[in-house]
Point group: C2
Chain length 334, copies 2
């Protein structure tokens, strides 16, 4: 009989937590026992798992006895507070927050990108930021073939990146604008309905946001490319739950769009959607609830005098590949 | 007494035409006589100009007798069909379509960028594509100071770029999605509400769209920089009427964000909105109905090992600077 695991989901009622539970079920993860953990506010409520009601428990330091794998998506502060008791209980923490991603003894993993890094974990494995995960699923196979040198990224990030409250605010605010009612932004810094906000996470002294620098630093760590050059502009748009990215890529070696398509068609976790004449290209509506990242608009960068540049557009479900799916895939690797 | 002109607006009932009439009024253009021209369908209806009702006439070959300036925004085919009779009538055609932009004897003008090119017009002056106009208002002053070499652009284009029917479809489709009703895309190739479409205008054999190549070719012409390198990814997002652009710029010479801000603060047609700590940066809602292009998120490109790179984010009203305002400004130059 195959081994089964006791799995805890910390932050089970959040947008990512809900998708983690669904993904464990859909991918038939060998769950012996599922513990749903949340704040006292949600304790006593139930969530469905494989047709049965599972009661949500308040998360305490004693929640992790007997747990094999703890999927965390309750914010960085909660992850930091519980790290020791999870590891002491002998569980492996797979953390969706940014709290430990850049720590030297915490592997940061996308299974399609750097599964080998799972070997050196010491009880904590980090899930990368959603935009990094979505980008690298498509870019890592190209890097392995041609050597990635520089990336210029502009993102089109969905409301789901701000959690369930972000999606609710987009819907509510859109209704208010359509009805001519006043709005009051809360989840976002400004009005998002029928507009955009070029600001995600806080600003650093160099003018970049933390969100933008995560893409650089996390990519360097996961690709083992400390010299990688990358600039990013992260923009929130009024899309619902899939992130898109416009990527301008420079490689060490020449690469044609045909080669890139062949590489991506053979790569796990990527679906090539690239037939412009048939109006086929990646779009958030098509990426929503899909495990794969969609890649398309693949073309030779005409702003270079050589064939070492590609432009590519990707869309991926922020809650799945950007968060819940990737965490469950890491658990599968274990 | 100052000279006054007989001005015709061809395509007066379209999204851009309406803004042309409003802009002529708001900027107090010296109009002696205003002729509003449209298809037979709209003939007989009226539009307000300076408090008075002006009757819309059906456009015919005889419409341009006595006209000094004809502002065209009725599509490229109409512009081509009427070019000869407008010029023969002695009027100057200022055309918002892409029909003549790349012709050698047609100047393509943004008054803040290349006003000197108006000297060599032969009866037709072209208005650039909206994304080119919005970009160059901010980029041309930096180019003059530091020598522009290469641009990597990703756009966030509003529904207004598809005209009044584009804005109406965004509103109607958004309502339908919120109400769980079926949708039927017409103005756009796919669903735009709560999503995006990385496809504007038709595709060329190299995988770029015409829209993306316009930015390259029109920028080269207007900046008199035939060697300029530029790649663009044009994306329609569910914003209403201001376009935004994420621009990665490479210059011949070093340029710091402080220098760039100082140059743009002194430049006509640009408002610098760049105080991240106060959550101030360009956004479509703030650019809407503004004459100026908003520029912000100005930072040194960290993906380079020198100081010749800048990242910048701009938003501009697509119907105004991207179309109607620029046409009227060209008329003012005349």
């Amino acid at each position: 009989m195959a081994k089964e695991f006791t799995v805890a989901v910390a932050g089970a009622t959040g947008a990512v937590g809900v998708e983690m539970v669904k993904t464990l079920e859909k991918r038939n993860f060998p769950v012996k026992n599922l513990k749903l953990l949340a704040s006292a506010r949600s304790a006593g409520k139930t969530m469905k798992f494989k047709g049965e009601d599972v009661v949500i428990e308040e998360m305490t330091e004693n929640s992790f006895k007997g747990v094999d794998i703890a999927l965390f998506s309750a914010g960085g502060d909660i992850s930091k507070a519980y790290r020791k008791c999870v590891v002491d209980a002998g569980a492996v923490m797979i953390d969706n927050s940014s709290a430990f991603r850049m720590e030297d003894d915490v592997p940061l993993i996308v299974p399609e990108v750097n599964p080998e890094d799972i070997k050196w974990h010491k009880g904590v494995i980090a899930n990368p930021n959603c935009t990094t995960a979505i980008m690298l699923v498509a870019v890592a196979p190209l890097h392995r073939a041609k050597g990635l040198k520089r990336v210029v990224a502009s993102t089109y990030q969905a409301a789901s990146g701000a959690g369930a409250k972000g999606m609710a605010e987009l819907i509510e605010q859109t209704r208010q604008i359509l009805n001519g009612e006043p709005i009051e932004p809360k989840a976002f810094a400004h009005r998002i309905a029928f507009s955009l906000i070029p600001h995600i996470d806080s600003f650093m002294p160099n003018g970049y946001t933390k969100e933008e620098l995560k893409m650089l630093n996390e990519s360097r760590k996961m690709l083992h490319l400390p010299e990688l050059l990358l600039t990013c502009t992260s923009v929130r748009i009024p899309a619902m739950r899939a992130h898109s990215e416009s990527l301008n890529l420079e490689f060490e070696n020449e690469i044609t769009p045909e080669e890139a398509r062949a590489i991506l068609e053979a790569a796990p976790g990527v679906t090539v959607v690239d037939d412009p004449e048939k109006k086929l290209y990646p779009m958030p509506v098509d990426a929503t609830e899909k495990y794969d990242v969609l890649a398309g608009r693949i073309r030779q960068d005409i702003s270079r005098n050589d064939k070492r540049g590609l432009d590519i557009f990707v869309s991926g479900d922020q809650l799945l590949k950007g968060a819940a799916l990737n965490a469950v895939q890491i658990a599968e690797l274990l």
